[in-house]
Amino acid sequence: MPPRPPTPPLRLEARGLSKRYNVPVLTDFDFTLEAGEVHALVGSNGAGKSTFARILCGLTPASSGALQLDGESYTPISKAHATAAGVVMVLQELNLIPTLSVAENLGFEHLPSRWGFIDRPRLRAQARAALALVGLDHLDPDQPAGGLGVGQQQLVEIAAALSRECRVLILDEPSAALTATETEELFVRIRALQAKGVAILYVSHRMDEIRRIADRVTVLRDGRHIATHSAPDFAVDELIREMAGHAQVIRPTARVSRRTQEVALAVRNLTAPPRVRGVSLEVCAGEIVGIAGLVGAGRTELLRAIYGADPVTGGTIELHGSLAVLPDPCAAVAAGIGMVPEDRKADGLLLPQSILANTTLASHDRLSHRGWMDAEAARRTTLETTATLALKCDRLEQPVAELSGGNQQKTVIARWLLRDAAVLLLDEPTRGVDAAAKDSIHRLMADLAERGKALLMVSSELPELMANCDRILVMSTGRIVGEFTPADWSEERITAAAFAGHMNPST
């Protein structure tokens, strides 16, 4: 009789892990992570995923419960301690220091030095090696990290983690800022690490990715373990049901084109160097137009240029058939445009301030008489809007910083509902938002289109664009390189169009 193969050792084991701040955020959580597996952790925002990850990498101590790493008791007291033990995390938020170079950021914890001076050649070589791990070979390691786009910054963060010796790698929404191609690249790296026996904890909202990469999935809800499924054995519908804890989220299946013949927004040959180079497009009233493209294709910059947020050097904009001059966002808003920016915390929200202060920000003129705020009208209209959006909060005076990502995003969107903007520019409107909130944002967009608004939406998630848009434009190196309608689009074709421009950088 052959000897039974030894059971593979558990890389990481959590028993009865709990964490309380003022309320319990993680309750009696059991979790195992085997060497060489990708274990996905899913749940709505606030389910306790980030808290668990933060406990693992020593950013916050558990209130009770025990952790074991390769069979030994593991109680990380600091991030440095966790890193030394081989538990490395890529944070959801970007943590690069914008004024330091890419190389300095990568080597920040152990800058190679000679007699106290930084050994630049060695630093650069280390950085190149790390960048090659994520396919960023072409990146100049000496350029300041702040000059990179969000997607590239995220990749640099991942490179920093990959270049360390690690036993457990924690990825928190790693693909949030990545394009489809970059995500593919990331998956290749993840598989390579897996083969080397690294255990990977993969926190994500993206069901399609989880289905592809994860060996097991654990669902968290309200800080409690709900279920753990093994590889081929999970259906997205079921996961969503377990996360939401109520009846399945229903997607609108049949889509009727709401497009009217009235062109609400017409952009002609708009140029805003260096990222926007002669873009023309039209969005009709009642239409949702999506913009696909790789990170760095100029999608965000295009929206900002239309909105007057960045200087424009050429081209014209027409609104409802008449020429509009929009030198600044002030003029754009007055002309009936609203923008939901990519980075809601930096560019959209007044985080420490109330929901009310945030929702009314663009509508001061309508909610005041001779300069005096009409507090009553502000409350009433905000209440109506937050109800429409199913925005969850204790009270309208609650600081936005206390809300979950999904509700924060709804607050930004509510601002433009209050304003009743006729044209909405949405830049990654559901990034970092849980599945339920995502769904209600999508419904709202459809509803707005129904009511004759024109929506122009940027997203890096092709399925999202295909599920919500009437048309998809593909942008590459500052130009529109393709246009698709539901009749002729597919993920492959759109991806191919997006990629085409990047194959030949001379164009």
């Binding site: 966002p329 808003v333 560019d347 920000l361 663009a362 003129d365 705020m373």
Partner: protein, 323 residues
């Protein structure tokens, strides 16, 4: 406890504690004369610190208020004595001089995007230099021109300047909390880029807070002149620090986005009471400065704890106290 009281309770308690402490250590302290002298001293600092609060809420700072006070006073003196203008016109010129200096501060810092710290540091020198030039570095005696402003009203014992200052505080607090302008300056101090992308041009409010502060410095110069009966080119030196200290003690964040004019007024009361009380106890000038400085730092530390949120040290202290 009503919300407004809750907001002001810590500062009121500190003030009352100071009053109690000084009354206990000196039997001359808790008298009408002390309060009358306090009320006579603080109007200038009150109106300037009130304006400073607005500037700091937008995440700016105005270091020039002391010098601009000297400048506005010099303009007032010159208008009366040099140009023989009637008093109302001279008053108007003094206010305009302050507002003009404020506009220059605001326009350069907001429009040309130079940190207000540096612009107003320059203005601190410029305005002081101008006030020397205008007065030939001489103190001008103005006699009793405005002395009614600073003379205690019969029966009440408090001067009109004190009431004007209190009205300014209340007005600005209402502007801050109830008007579009007020909401906008708080929003700008919180996240200027978000405000811009919401379709609001931040330039106007950013310049306006400096103009308002400048005009209030002009008013402060009039109070000052009224009290001393002269226009002194050295007037107000160091006042910017007292004003900033009052704002900080009042809990307004130097990072912008949060603050209250009424709290600043309580900060002024605390500083003035401390100084008067220490003087009555016979503390030397150097010792007074050491203690006042320590109080400012302690206030800032306590405020840092208070705003650190539920996990902050304040919660720790509260929990310890509960036990």
């Amino acid at each position: 406890m009503p919300r407004w009281l809750k907001d002001y309770a810590p500062l009121l308690l500190i003030w009352i504690a100071l009053l109690g402490l000084f009354s206990f250590s000196s039997d001359r302290f808790f008298t009408a004369a002390t309060f009358s002298s306090l009320a006579n001293q603080i109007p200038t600092l009150t109106v300037i610190a009130a304006g400073m609060t607005l500037v700091i809420i937008t995440a700016g700072i105005d270091l020039s208020v002391g010098s601009v006070l000297g400048f506005a006073g010099a303009v007032f003196g010159l208008a009366l004595l040099g140009w023989n203008l009637p008093v109302p016109l001279a008053v108007l010129l003094a206010l305009l001089a302050g507002a003009g200096a404020g506009w220059v501060n605001g326009w350069i810092s907001a429009r040309l995007r130079v940190p207000s710290f540096i612009v107003t540091l320059g203005m601190l020198e410029i305005a002081r230099g101008l006030s020397y030039l205008l007065t030939d570095s001489q103190t001008q005696y103005l006699g009793g021109t405005l002395s009614n402003l600073a003379r205690p009203l019969p029966g009440i014992g408090l001067p009109p300047s004190f009431f004007i200052a209190v009205v300014v505080v209340i007005l600005l607090q209402i502007v801050l909390t109830r008007t579009v302008f007020g909401r906008r300056i708080i929003a700008i101090g919180t996240n200027e880029e978000a405000v811009r992308l919401a379709g609001i041009n931040p330039l106007g409010p950013k310049i306006a807070v400096f103009v308002i502060t400048g005009a209030l410095v002009g008013l402060g110069a009039l109070f000052y002149t009224a009290r001393l009966g002269s226009s002194d080119p050295n007037a107000g030196s160091g006042l910017e620090l007292a004003a900033i200290a009052a704002v900080v003690i009042g809990g307004t964040s130097l990072m912008g986005g949060r603050g209250s004019v009424v709290s600043t007024f309580l900060g002024v009361l605390i500083i003035a009471t401390l100084e008067t009380g220490l003087a009555q106890l016979g503390a030397s000038e150097p010792l007074k400065r050491v203690i006042t400085g320590a109080v400012i730092v302690i206030a800032a530390v306590i405020d840092g704890w208070r705003t650190a949120g539920p996990g902050g040290p304040a919660a720790l202290v509260r929990r310890l106290l509960k036990r």
